[in-house]
Amino acid sequence: MTVGEPIITVNDLRHTYLRGSPLEVEALKGVNLEVYRGEALGIIGRTGAGKSTTVQHFNGLIRPREKGKVIVFGQDMADPNIDVRGIRQKVGLVFQYPEAQLFERLVGDDVAFGPRKMGLSQAEISERVRWAMNSVGLPFEEFKDRFTFSLSGGEMRKAAIAGVLALRPEVMVLDESTSGLDPRGRKDVLSLIRKGHDEENLTIVFISTNMDDLATLVDRIYVIHDGRTVLSGATREVFAQPEVLRGYGLGVPQITEVMHGLKGRGLPVDERCVSVSQAEEQVWKILSS
């Protein structure tokens, strides 16, 4: 997957919150990563490790002011004169509780907020809203005139994601956007991200602390610990090192844990499975031999 030029490059990035005050916090101390076109990338790390701070550099919400370089679609984000709105249209960012951004009375209007701000024609706007709402599973005709604040929590979440999707970004960054949802809602959101990735060739950057979600969605993972990128690689390779991950306060998907357990008890399985179907295959192989 990692072919061609990266569309986002982060090089030795540092960031300090409340800089120059007695309360300053050094959030990033050297983050290095690359995002390639069309890939599904995961970023994991404990709370406060610097994941959110890192991705907020991707669309210019935070600009590099200290050491370090962030290049997004060929633009140096430290340059104050770049077209930051253009970047934000290409890099869609969904926050942890995105329903906090809803403000319009009607769902359709809220989803249309981004496209309207882009100055598109009315026809183009409704086309985008229809597409975005349908892709998140809120059928346009049924939901466009519903009151935003009468939606259920899961529906609000989807409406908020549709609001970012309607910008038709090339990269979709999701910052723990599945947390706080019930299992059904989480599954829905995950599958709509997966669909966007498979069908629309959307580049995905997915931050999560749920290893099982990550395993089903992403091809490649970066581990951020204490403001630094400490580990990266294909999902299978990263999850093949449970001891290292545990050292960073993280874990591996449950199924990977099972396979490690089986291996530990002397069964000749490949423990690098990250999905149930891969594990099933391994177990079948032993049972049939």
Partner: protein, 285 residues
């Protein structure tokens, strides 16, 4: 370039943990000292007195181990207003302010513009006063946790409860209000970032862009209000489930006790404030 991190510039109300002499004082002492100093500052208009008061305020900041630069950063957003008000006072207020210690001499008189030594003094004294009050008010919140501050206020108002004054309720309201300020600050930052992410122009381009259309504000205010109501409901539920019934017969985990240092601090400040008030018109300049 937009900057969403405005908590960086809000310094009043931010507690800075330390173990300085001022931090260890009883909150009631600090409130009393603030009131005494404020009355001294309010009634003194001479240069000498205000310089003495500024030095004393500055000394308190140093004693409290709070960086002066940190407090001054909180002044920064107000600078355009201060300059505007100073200019108005300087140019048009000459005829109205007569300093008690010196005669007022006209410097420039042209049309409605009237600059006198009195209006020059007014501008300089106003600026000095602003700094003194900023130092002291900021210091109180920088060195006192919100819990201690409100316990202090409640305990000072308690004698009034005999006359039906709602001391406990008022201090509870103050606690909740103060506690919610940083929460809303953070929430506002999140909402601003979310809306900017989908194309809204949020952060003002120029420093003097005060006027925003109602539409642009709604993008931030509606989500912020919904969040506020949600948090308020959560808080009510939490208070209810802990059987909160209000002030009557309620004991406190934090018991305030005056220490010798508190008595000394209050006594010294009382003497200082009285001297400054009694001799306010006797300073040479």
């Amino acid at each position: 370039m937009e900057d969403f991190e405005f908590l960086r510039n809000v310094t009043v109300g931010q507690y800075l943990p330390s173990d300085s002499l001022v931090h260890r004082l009883d909150p009631r002492t600090k409130i009393t000292v603030l009131l005494l100093m404020v009355s001294a500052i309010t009634f003194n208009v001479s240069y000498t007195a205000n310089i003495i008061l500024l030095i004393v305020s500055f000394a308190y900041v140093v004693l409290a181990d709070v960086p002066v630069g940190y407090i001054l950063r909180g002044v920064k957003p107000a600078i355009p207003f201060i300059i505007f008000m100073s200019a108005m006072q300087l140019l048009f207020y000459g005829g109205q302010f007569v300093p008690p210690n010196m005669p007022s001499v006209t410097l420039i008189k042209w049309s409605i513009v009237h600059v006198t030594t009195g209006s020059v003094q007014l501008v300089i004294i106003s600026t000095l006063r602003f700094l003194q009050l900023m130092f002291l008010a900021s210091l109180l919140t920088n060195t006192t946790t919100i819990t201690k501050l409100t316990h202090g206020m409640e305990s000072m108002m308690r004698p009034l409860a005999r006359f039906g004054f709602p001391a406990h309720e008022l201090s509870l309201v103050a606690t909740i209000a103060l506690r919610f300020v940083p929460i809303f600050g953070e929430q506002l930052e999140i909402v601003m970032k979310s809306q900017a992410s989908r194309g809204a122009e949020i952060a003002a381009k120029g420093k003097l862009q005060f006027v925003q259309t109602a539409r642009q504000v709604a993008v931030l205010v509606v989500p912020l209000f919904i969040d506020a109501f949600r948090r308020a409901e959560d808080l009510i539920l939490a208070m209810g489930s802990r059987c909160y019934v209000g002030g009557k017969g309620r004991s406190h985990m934090i018991q305030l006790h005056f220490k010798p240092v508190d008595i000394v601090a209050m006594a010294l400040n009382l003497v200082f404030a009285v001297v400054m008030l009694v001799f306010r018109n006797s300073f040479p300049l």
